[in-house]
Every structure is written in C-alpha cells, then in structure tokens.
Amino acid sequence: MTDSHLTRRRLLRYGAYGAGAAALGGTAASWERLTGADIPGRDDGSLVVATLGPAYGPEAIRTLREGFRELHPDIKLQINAVQAVDWSDFFAKILTQVAAGTAPDLVYVATEGVQLFAQRLGVALDTWVKRDAAELKEYFADVHPSLVESMMYEGSLYQLPVEFNAADMYLNHQVLRRAGAPYPPADWTRDDFTTLLRDMKQASGSRFTPYFWTNRLWGGVVPWLFANDTNLLAESKAPGGEWLWDSFYPAGQRADRGGGFRWTTPQATHDRVEEVYDYLASLVQDGLCTRPEGGNGQNLIGVFSTGRVGVTPAGGFWAGGLHLAGMERDGFDVQYFPRWRTQRMQYGAAGYALLRTSKRQEEAWEFIKYAARKETLARLFTTNQTTPARRSMLTADRYQETGPAHWPVFYDTLDRFPDTGPIPAPPQVAEVEQLLLKHTGTALASSRSVRPALRRLQGDLEKAMERDA
C-alpha cells in the first residue's frame, strides 16, 4: 500500500512555488499601478495642473476641465487635486513631486508660496502678459491692483490672482442682541472692539468666549500688527513693475505700486509689535478670547453658529461655510477689522504658478488666462467658498442665499483701504510661520512673557532670514 498523503516538505515546496507564481503574476498584472504609469495624464502629453485638494472637489475639477476643453479642444488637460492639510503641506507635496521628476506644469499657489515658487521654480508671466495685453485689459480692470502686486516678485508677475480673502470680522447676531450691542460702524476702533467683547462676555456667562482667533499667519496676530501700522518683517517694495501698472491701471490706482513686496528684516521687538502682543495677552487674561493654540478652523464654525463665540476674523469663504453649516444669512454679519493706528487690513490671495520644468508653457499660459476668466470663476465659485478676485462678481445676487447683509465689505476692504496688503510671506515663509506660532504661544502665557518671547522670536527670525529658502 502506498502513502498518498503529501509530505509536509512537499506541501511547503508546492506552496512556495504557488506563492512565487502568484507574486510574479500579481506584480506583472499591476505593474502599471505600481510604477504609477496608469495615472491619467502622466507622460501622455497632458497639461498637468496641481490644485489644493480640499479646496477643489470633484465637481469643481470637472467644471474646470470641461470648460477648458470647450475653449481648447486641442490641449489635453489633467487636474490633480493634491490632498493636503494646509498650504505648507501642499507645497511640501508639490516639492516632493518636483524632486521625483514628476512636477506638474501649473500649481495653484497662495500668497504663502508666491515668493518661494517665484524664486525657485516659477516662470515670470511678463512676456505673455505684454503679448496678450489687449485680451487681459478687461481682467486687470476688474481686479484690484493690490492683489496683482502681491503676485509680483522683483518686478515680474508670476500669477494672475483668481481669489482672495481679507481678514474681516464676523459677528454673531444672536450674541449681539444678547449683549444689547448694535452692528458696529465701519470706522470702529480697537477700544470699541474691546468694549463689545466685554459686553458680550457680561451678557453670556462663563461658558462663552467673545473672540475666537487662530494662531497662524492669516487671521492671527498679523491683522492686529497691520492695524497698529507695523508688521512682523519690515515691509518694502521691489523696484520695477511699471511695465504692468502703466499698461493696465489708471494713474490714481497705480500710485505707490512697485515690483512686488519685500519682507526682509525681522522687527519682532519693535514697540508696536509689543503693544499688539500686550493687547492680545490682556484679552486672554480677561477671558475675552481663546488662547491662540486653542483656536482652529475645525471647531470654529460649530461654536460660532451655536452662539458660544461672538466675533471672529474670517474671509469671504466663511459665508459659504456658515451657510453649509446651516446658519441663516441673517444670523451673522461682517465688518472691517477695527482701526488702531490705521485701518490697513490683511489678505491672502491665490492663482496658478507656471513651473520652469514645464514643457508645455504656451498651453499653461492659455490655462492661466482661462482660469482667470469671469465665466470660469462664476462656474467655479458657486457656493461662496471664497472671494473672487474679480470685483464685478461681488453682487447682491451672489450673496442672496448665503449672506451676510454687508457682503460689500469683502471687496471694499481693498477698495476703501487701498494700502491693505498681503500676509508677510518671504521665500522663507514656512520657517517664519512656524516661529510665529511657537513664540506667540509662549508670549501670550502671561503679560510678563511677552517681551522675552518677542526677543527670542526676533533672534530666531534673524537666523531664518539669513538662511536660503
């Protein structure tokens, strides 16, 4: 009688052969996926555009792609929505693609990255702008020169802004009513603001925080610095840019415009900076605002819409956000940032940057122009998730459903206060932002912490600015 059972050794051997064959077969079958060769647009001659994923959902991408195809059926377009937490995370992922040799042709870049991209990776758009000046006249006439200036670097233009958000103040109507306070006037002061916070606190009890703010470059300490007529880094302007201003803007609007902003010298120990930190520290000590690290955008809409927060700085994007969260258009309103020494305000803008590595630069320029067209922006920004860079798009109709009542504030922040400027964003912006967040947290621990923390901030900023970006 023979033993028909497999021996363990033989079973193992056949198992190994089977596993090996399966591994080889699987690898061969998924080779394209493993190597990324099946990614749409890769190496097939498409113009590749990278956008910030969370800001551009599938619907927006389809809209962009279909609209462009109608206009340029001969250009293959691929839009990659890169998922990222914030702008610095997004830039890190784009730079990883650059390092891997799979750089996109165009990248959606906000103020935070304009100078970094311009200095290291970007292509100036000057030649194309001059060539297509006739076509672009209508665009520039509709866009505030400050937004355009924020996209310039050392005299050249690197992006056409398509959206922006200024740090205005949102007010909760329910909380205002509870405090018996009226909607504040446009020229309200820092002291009016403090009084309003005190009234709100008194009327609402201990589980209520009048002012909610976030610790970041946009909407954090910086708008207060602007209001106090100072900045984290001394601000100046690069020479040049006349080629653009003289061609597209009337004399009244091009006065004092230059070739882009320069943020070079740290001034964290300046008296006015210290004043701002002292003021914010006093608000924290008095329980009138959140600790900076406590606040973030994730829980802000919830606490604002339920009346546990009275005031917060936010841009036009919040109109869409609050509407989506179920807040009625008359439940909130918006006003300019309060005046201190000045009423200069802060904004961040965004547009498409063309990378030097792109082999499809002409097609990329066509996309840049297409993305800045009014029809494109109108189809894209349907839910007021941002403020369009084009003034003519801010209409009563647009804010009919989402509110707020004083929606003209969004664009008037630029028109009424033409010195309103971009957040300080030199090529070393990532390190600057990190240092600001870190030392702001320490500075606001108590009023005594302000001065030593600012001294350390100054020292660290000096080191950061000496480094190459």
């Binding site: 193992l12 051997r13 190994a16 995370d89 890190a92 925080t209 600790r291 546990r308 947290g441 190459d468």
Partner: protein, 318 residues
C-alpha cells in the same frame, strides 16, 4: 647581568590537522537549502531595500545641503554642527526623553495593573469584553484619535472641562499651558498604546505555571508579596519586551503631539520626529533633518542596548 639561560631547543611545530572538508550535500539537501533561500529572499530583499538603503541614504544625506529644488551640495559635518547649535533640536531631544520616561512607565503600570486584575476571578465573557476594549484604541489611527482628543481637551469648548465644571473645577488649559500640555499628550498616548503591553502581560501571566503560585502559597506568600516575589520575576522577560517596544515607539512619537499641540505652547511638546518633519518638509533642509534622524537612530540603538545590558540583572527565565 647576562642571560645564562639557554634558548629552548627548537622543536618542530605540530602539523595542523587537515581542515575538515565540507560534507558533500546530497541533491535533496541542496534542494532544501535552495528552498530556504527562496523563502528568506523576499525578507532579505525587503530589509535591504526598506531598512538598510534608507538608513545609509539618511547618513549620506546628512552630509549634504539639499532643498529638493537645487542639486545637493556637500556639507561635511556642518549639518551636525547646526543641529547641536539649534536650541529647538536640543529641546526636542529633552522633550522626547521626558515623554519616553513618563509614557512608558505609565503605560507599563496601567497595562500590568489591568492584566493582573483581569487575571483574577472574572467571568470569561467579561474578561473578553475588557480585553477588546483595552486593545481597541491601538487599532485606531493615532491622527484621528488625536483630532477627537483635541476637541475633548479644548480649554474653552471641550467636554472634559465641561464635565469638570459640574464638580466645580475651573477650566484646565489642557493643551495650551506649558505645564499641562506634555501631561495631556502623555495621557492620550498612553490611553492609545497600553493595549499592546496589556496583551503581552495577559499572555505572560497565562504562561506562569500554577504550581509555582501554589508552592509560594504553601510557603505563606499571599497578595502583594506573591506578586512581587513570584509573578513579577517570572513576568520579567515579558516586561523586557514590552519596555523595549514601548521605548522605541515612544522615542518616535509624532502624531499625538503634532495634532494635539503642534509642538506648543512654545516648544514644550515638540518631539524629535516633529523636528525632523518640520525641518525637511516645511523648511526644505533635508540634510539637517537627516542629521537629526541619524542622531535619533543612534539614541534608540543606545537606549535599547542599555536595556538589554541591564536586563541581565533583572530578567529571570524559568
């Protein structure tokens, strides 16, 4: 003084025995060896590609300045000099060590206490419920847990302070005070991680023969004394494994402090891996980041080696 001794007579060196010849392998043995090599090959390739190459790559990169965009420039040891001169890096090493000590100690204590409790008399179904409950946080993503915890521990709007309010305790700045932030990060980390040590201890306790406990009981050992003189020594190999794994994990902590506090307030919860991430991916200084990574690698190796060395004194095998 003269040397009167005569030199020893030269003797012939004994012939070295012939080197043993390797036994000739049979075809079957050669097949077995080939099979073993085939089985091991994927692992070896994996270790080389995913462990050895990155380690060597990091060491090489730590000798260069590289910002992704421009070609790398040789930097010699200047990245290490910059790292040692950077206060943030030094603080992050101190934070990481403090975190490691408290997180691992607390994690082992909690896990051991719960394992001992569950090892007592308890219905089997209830024991299963507890085991699952304690292990559950470990299988969740650390980042998502930290996001939820950030809401819970929010000073102004968090549930934790809301609950404390019912017993008259004023809101605690869990994540926004330099004194409290590290404690909160440790608590969140321990809550998520202790399930691993707990399972190890449950297994270790089950492996202790009952006879030894019975013999100890006959000798009059009861309660705490029994645990100290019998259970703990016999559990010491498991304790060693749990502490080695715990320390290696704790030294690489990233998600919890990154999401909960972003390293703040100030630098009070900034850890070494956070510094590596920020230096490389936010500030584009990959050379310096690699230098910090190499130093962390050396630290982990040193601490682990020290643990194994010390373990000779307190680890008892049956």
């Amino acid at each position: 003084m003269t040397n009167t001794q005569t030199p020893p007579a030269r003797t012939e060196r004994p012939k070295a025995p012939p080197a043993p010849q390797a036994p000739r392998l049979s075809a079957r043995d050669r097949g077995t060896r080939l099979l073993a090599t085939l089985f091991l090959a994927p692992t070896i390739v994996g270790i080389v590609v995913f462990t050895v190459v990155p380690i060597v790559g990091s060491v090489v990169l730590s000798l260069f300045h590289w910002n992704v965009i421009d070609p790398p420039r040789f930097a010699g040891g200047s990245n290490y000099g910059a790292v040692f001169g950077d206060e943030t890096v030094l603080v992050s090493f101190r934070n990481t060590l403090v975190f490691m000590v408290f997180a691992v100690a607390l994690q082992l204590l909690v896990a051991l206490a719960l394992a001992l409790t569950l090892n007592g008399r308890m219905p089997v179904w209830l024991r299963s419920v507890f085991r699952s409950a304690f292990f559950f946080p470990l299988v969740l993503s650390a980042a998502s847990i930290s996001v939820v915890m950030k809401y819970l521990f929010n000073q102004d709007f968090g549930v934790v302070n809301w609950l404390l309010g019912f017993v008259g305790i004023a809101p605690v700045p869990w994540l926004t005070s330099e004194n409290a932030a590290m404690t909160t990060v440790v608590l969140v980390y321990v809550w998520q991680q202790f399930g691993f040590s707990f399972l190890l201890f449950v297994g270790g306790l089950n492996n202790i023969p009952k006879e030894i406990h019975e013999a100890a009981a006959l000798d009059g050992a009861t309660g705490l004394r029994k645990h100290l003189t019998v259970t703990l020594p016999l559990l010491s190999p498991t304790l060693l494994v749990a502490s080695v794994v715990g320390i290696i994990n704790a030294l690489q902590v990233f998600e919890q402090p990154y999401v909960l506090t972003n390293g703040g307030p100030g630098d009070s919860t900034r850890t070494v891996v956070m510094v590596i991430y920020e230096t490389a991916f936010e500030q584009l200084r990959f050379g310096e980041a690699s230098a910090v990574g190499v130093l962390l690698f050396v630290l982990i190796m040193a601490v682990t080696a020290l643990q194994f060395r010390l373990s000779r004194r307190f680890v008892h095998y049956q």
